[in-house]
């Protein structure tokens, strides 16, 4: 079950960053390795603060790490 439509490129970005391990990323962000694993697998949506910390640790912008599909992809725009 994936509770969110948010996707992420953490795995690819980790490998682009000298093959950074999940443990290293977790250490830099200040969360547990299990949390990084859950975020990577789309099983957990992090807070905005942790999302920014992940982007900073990976040296990219927030929307390079996390993506949200356009409303035209099947979901009606909410008002």
């Amino acid at each position: 079950m994936k509770p969110t439509r948010i996707t992420n490129a953490i795995r690819a970005l980790r490998f682009a960053n000298n093959e950074m391990t999940q443990a290293e990323l977790a250490e830099r962000v200040g969360v547990t390795r299990q949390t990084i694993i859950a975020i990577e697998q789309g099983k957990y949506s992090p807070s905005l603060e942790v999302a920014f910390l992940i982007a900073r640790a990976l040296g990219v912008r927030l929307d390079d790490v996390f993506q949200y599909p356009d409303s035209s992809d099947g979901d009606e725009e909410r008002t």
């Binding site: 969110t4 969360v31 299990q34 949390t35 859950a38 957990y44 807070s47």
Partner: protein, 142 residues
């Protein structure tokens, strides 16, 4: 396995062990008469006390074995704790309301004490199961 999950396993096993011991002990004393005449109060208190003591002991052992992990508790752990506790709270309320209704109906205190204890045990068990599941499955978004 995260520290949250280890703690949940410890509390789950301590609660199940203590409650099972209590039920088996009390039922073994039931003779031909009414069940509510069976001595249960000391056994219940020992069972509750043992459950709490074992859980505290397990927490101390976990902290000694994993001092760094014991300090770290991130936002996901806190979310799992909160959602798991919400699952368990329902059974404390159900047990309390049931005990209130039984008292109003003047049931024997044996049944009132036991329904409260059952509510506590169910609350702890289901809360722990929810936490263990959420450690492996997806966590629902608020």
């Amino acid at each position: 396995m995260t520290l949250t999950e280890k703690r949940a396993w410890c509390l789950l096993l301590a609660t199940l062990g203590a409650y099972t011991w209590y039920v088996v002990t009390v039922l073994s004393r039931v003779s031909g008469g009414a069940v509510q005449e069976t001595p249960y109060a000391t056994t219940l208190l020992v069972s509750l006390g043992a459950s709490v003591a074992v859980n505290i002991g397990a927490e101390i052992v976990l902290s000694i074995l994993n001092p760094r992990g014991a300090r770290r508790k991130d936002e996901r752990d806190r979310t799992i704790d909160r959602l798991g506790d919400q699952v368990g709270q329902a059974f404390v309320i159900i047990g309390g309301v049931a005990a209130l209704l039984m008292a109003l109906a003047q049931w024997h205190w044996f049944w009132i004490a036991n329904v409260i204890y059952l509510g506590f045990a169910l609350s702890a068990v289901l809360s722990c199961i929810a936490k263990i599941i959420m450690n492996h499955a997806a966590i629902p978004n608020p």
